[in-house]
């Protein structure tokens, strides 16, 4: 196919790829063409008529978004013909539009408002009654004001094509056309918030953000999301001390321009149940303390204590700087007990290829067959699922799954529930084995559901053997990919925040705390572990939410959440990215690395850095690839996992409830409403 064509646009001659549409060519030539329905990630609808341009020798203006290019086209995007057509289209669009911009949440960032400035008449010739449309109930996230709708159908196309949850449509016709689910149900999709961004007018707006702020009041900070391990690029909009909304930023290789609903809407959890001052347990009760008092108590506990009796567990949203500071402090205290795997995922910290999403997220598009082992991407990493669906839509992509029977947005053949099915597949049995064998670039995605269990190392070994045997790791292609759910996991493993020689892992630390072999435990925002069995151990909680981890703590040192610190996160692909501070931590809470630095001072084992820059320099010196921001240093293939017996228990997804997976989302009222409106179907293991 390929090839280029020469076209002349507003007198500018350019040579462009002939697969582009005329509208895209106009953009490349520097001509601005107004549009509403066209979106370069959705199919072409051509129904708003705003992008009409004049093409020489065409009998009438053509909709440039739906016009293929031809060699020698002479196009005018302005002038009497195109200008009049665009103004006419705008006048028709505004006929039934309420023009209620002063009370519309889209005001100030509205395509219709902006383009009406350029192409509108300023006065209306329409004197008849405008139509009005009943509001729809799209669930707790998307607020509707359907009278404003101009029927571009971007939302309909997004839900069908990208989200794979085709519940929206245009019913009726002509004047009675409405965008609706018809049967009055919410939009049960993890990506539904994106239709708020896509809507070019104020018909679909954010329900939690309704009437909260105007865009020009907000300070905008480019940052990184930590609600899952995708590392979505986000923009954090804040006013004063409060984060008001999160929007996606474009990153073709990670999140394209979408984010999940948890990323977008869990932020109200940042203001609830926060730890805003230090606490120390005295006489069995947590009492407020000063920083000095709290640090002295912890330092007193650490002083002279055998390092083997000290341990640390990092939570799922901890940044690299915090873990590096903690690890450095533990080393100074001579403690080998640390782990960043709350769930006990049996990846091999010494073999980077054993814990990366080696194919990369964008690499999914190069795969030609996919096996999901013990994971449900839709719940565990919604944007990985969107990428799988994007690949599947292109055709020639068979997907099979072993483990929890997901409610996928693409067809997944269920091969069984647990290791037995994996063994059968490895032995070449079943219909999918030849598919995998014939694939040139097979993708094998292994989730925590398969690895975070007692026989995890054996499952990892079996998956690695399968990957090697089916050619998933060959000729520059590495299709062996671990699907993480934790934003801190890969960064922690890269830093070596895992048991050192003779050290204990998460389960070991918890056991030893129960038996008294370990008596001082640091929890870095670790809220997803069962702290009930820690017995009399002295627990220091450094984190931002007063939740399970803080409840049983003996000292609480309030830290910063992800929107409140400059920090490095490494996503599941092994891509280091920098988050930036959008607001200050509440009350007396401080950035976590500063807390550890101050504590080290009080203990008398002062950490060798006193600025974030110095910390980062040392961290990068120890782990060079963390300095290569937004670059993936591929992992070298190695032997990992063990060849052992696998239990026959079915794999279970680690995300029973998409909307509530971390302290922030569990504190969020919006997420609670979502969980109620869209209950996750029980992740049942399908029978073998």
């Amino acid at each position: 196919m390929g090839g280029t064509v020469k076209v002349s646009i507003d007198g500018v001659e350019i040579e462009v790829d002939k697969r582009l549409t005329l509208l895209q060519a106009c953009e490349l030539a520097g001509a601005e063409v107004p549009r509403f329905c066209f979106h370069d990630r959705l199919s072409i609808a051509g129904n708003c008529r705003m992008c009409l341009v004049e093409v020489e020798r065409a009998p009438k203006p053509v909709a440039s978004c739906a016009q293929p290019l031809m060699d020698g086209m002479v196009v005018r995007t302005r002038g009497p013909v195109a200008g009049k057509a665009q103004k006419g289209a705008m006048e028709f669009l505004l006929i039934n539009h309420p023009l209620d911009c002063p009370i519309c949440d889209q005001g100030g960032e509205c395509d219709l408002q902006d383009q009406a400035m350029g192409y509108g008449k300023g006065v209306s010739r329409f004197e008849e009654q405008k139509r009005s449309v009943q509001e729809k109930d799209f669930g707790p996230l998307v607020k509707t004001f359907m009278t404003r709708c101009i029927h571009c159908t971007r939302c309909v196309r997004f839900m069908e094509e990208v989200a794979g949850v085709p519940v929206l449509g245009a019913t009726g016709r002509g004047e009675d056309t409405e965008i609706t689910t018809y049967i009055e149900s919410g939009i049960a999709s993890e990506l539904s918030g994106n239709i708020v961004d896509l809507c070019p007018v104020g018909a679909l707006t954010s329900k939690p953000y309704a009437f909260v702020a105007r865009p020009w009041e907000l300070s905008k900070t480019e940052s990184i999301d930590v609600m899952d391990a995708v590392g979505s690029n986000i923009r954090v909009d804040a006013r004063g001390r409060e984060v008001l909304r999160v929007l996606p930023r474009l990153h073709e290789d990670v999140n394209e321009e979408w984010i999940s609903d948890k990323t977008r809407f869990a932020i109200d959890g940042l203001t609830r149940r926060r730890l805003d001052r230090p606490y120390v347990r005295r006489d069995g009760r947590l009492r407020e303390a000063s920083w000095k008092g709290a640090l002295d108590v912890v330092a007193g506990r650490l002083a002279g204590r055998d390092g083997a009796r000290i341990a640390a567990i990092a939570g799922d949203q901890v940044d690299c700087e915090t873990m590096y500071a903690m690890k450095t402090l533990l080393e100074a205290l001579d403690s080998p007990n640390m782990d960043c795997r709350q769930d006990g995922m049996a990846v091999d910290p010494s073999a980077r290829a054993s814990y990366l999403f080696n194919s990369t997220i964008a690499g999914i598009e190069d795969a030609d067959a996919c096996l999901l082992i013990g994971c449900n991407p839709r719940r565990e990493a919604a944007l990985v699922n969107a990428r799988l669906r994007k690949r599947w839509l292109r055709g020639g992509f068979k997907v099979a799954g072993i483990g929890p029977d997901p409610d996928p947005t693409l067809p997944v053949a269920n091969l069984g529930a647990g290791p037995e099915s994996l063994r059968r597949l490895a032995a070449g049995e079943g219909e999918f084995a030849p598919v995998l064998a014939a694939a040139e670039r097979p993708l094998i995605v292994v989730g925590a559901g398969a690895l975070a269990r007692p026989d995890g190392a054996a499952v990892l070994g079996a998956a690695r053997a399968l990957a090697e045997n089916c050619g998933a790791v060959a000729g520059g292609w590495n299709g062996f990919s671990i699907l993480h759910t934790s934003a801190s996991r890969v960064g922690g493993l890269d830093l070596g925040f895992a048991p050192r020689a003779g050290g204990r892992d998460t389960a070991g630390i918890l056991d030893a705390a129960g038996t008294g072999d370990i008596d001082t435990v640091f929890l870095l925002a670790a809220d997803e572990i069962d702290t009930g069995g820690m017995g009399g151990a002295f627990v220091v909680y450094i984190g931002h939410h007063g939740e399970t981890g803080a409840r049983g703590a003996d000292a609480i040192l309030p830290g910063a959440a992800y929107t409140e610190k400059d920090a490095t996160y490494v996503n599941m692909e092994g891509r280091p990215q920098r988050a930036a501070r959008a607001v200050f931590p509440p009350g007396e809470a401080r950035e976590d690395w500063r807390i550890l630095r101050a504590l080290s001072d009080a203990v008398g084992a002062t950490l060798p850095f006193d600025s974030l820059g110095a910390l980062r320099d040392r961290m990068i010196a120890d782990t060079p690839h963390l300095g290569a921001i937004d670059e993936i240093v591929p992992a070298e293939w190695a032997a990992f996992g063990v060849d052992g017996a696998m239990d026959d228990a079915p794999f279970v997804s680690p995300v029973p409830d998409f909307y509530r997976t971390c302290a922030i989302s569990r504190a969020s009222a919006t997420m609670a409403r979502c969980a109620e409106a869209f209950p996750t179907p029980p992740a049942s293991g399908a029978g073998d």
């Binding site: 009943q134 929206l168 449509g169 009726g172 009675d176 018809y182």
Partner: protein, 203 residues
């Protein structure tokens, strides 16, 4: 008949289930078989029509069943069913009387037909008689302008009407008889009212 299509007009009176009769199920399969493999969704109109002929109208349950059969999301069927006015989205009487009032019929005094039907049946547009026999509906052009004014009752056209003839048709139906469809003024199809003047053969 409500014009609000964004939601079912009678959410409270929707039946919980629907199933095609064996005969209609076979017809549905025949309709689907007319299209190439993988293009089942093309049969959405014939299937909606079958459902309507079976039940008299198309319920949400029927549309859901059709979506399942055609392997498309339910909303794709709702879109089609709400687009076409010929699909009844709420129950209608045994005889659906559709009176054309578009310009040619109006100029031939369709208003008189409307008044006659209204007063004879005692109902307005969008209503059904209490005995469940007749539903009255105003429609746009049905394409029989040369025989204006006209009404469509179920599948038949009754043309060249006046008020008395329209009532006559309704009375015949009410008696359980079937009036002869087509022009009601004695002419054949759309031949000139005053008799043929050309192509008269030998005379």
């Amino acid at each position: 008949m409500s014009l609000a299509h964004g939601r079912p007009s009678i959410p409270d009176r929707q039946p919980v289930g629907f199933a095609f009769s064996d005969e209609n199920r076979a017809k549905a399969e025949a309709a689907i078989a007319k299209y190439p493999e993988g293009r089942r969704q093309s049969a959405v109109m014939p299937l909606l029509d079958l459902a309507q002929r079976q039940e008299g109208w198309v319920s949400v349950a029927a549309m859901d069943v059709i979506a399942d059969i055609l392997e498309v999301p339910a909303i794709r069927v709702y879109e089609v069913a709400t687009f076409y006015t010929m699909f009844n989205l709420e129950p209608v009487g045994e005889f659906l009387v559709q009176i054309c009032t578009t310009t040619p019929c109006m100029l031939r005094d369709s208003d008189a037909i409307v008044d006659a039907c209204r007063s004879h049946l005692g109902i307005d547009f969008g209503e059904t008689t209490t005995d469940g026999k007749f539903t009255l509906k105003e429609v746009e052009c049905l394409g029989a302008c040369v025989n204006a004014p006209m009404v469509q009752i179920n599948d038949d056209y009754y043309e060249d009407l006046d008020a008395a003839k329209a009532v006559g048709v309704l009375e015949t139906l009410a008696r359980g008889e079937t009036p002869v469809a087509g022009p009601q003024n004695g002419r054949r199809s759309s031949e000139p009212v005053s008799g043929a003047r050309t192509l008269r053969g030998g005379d």
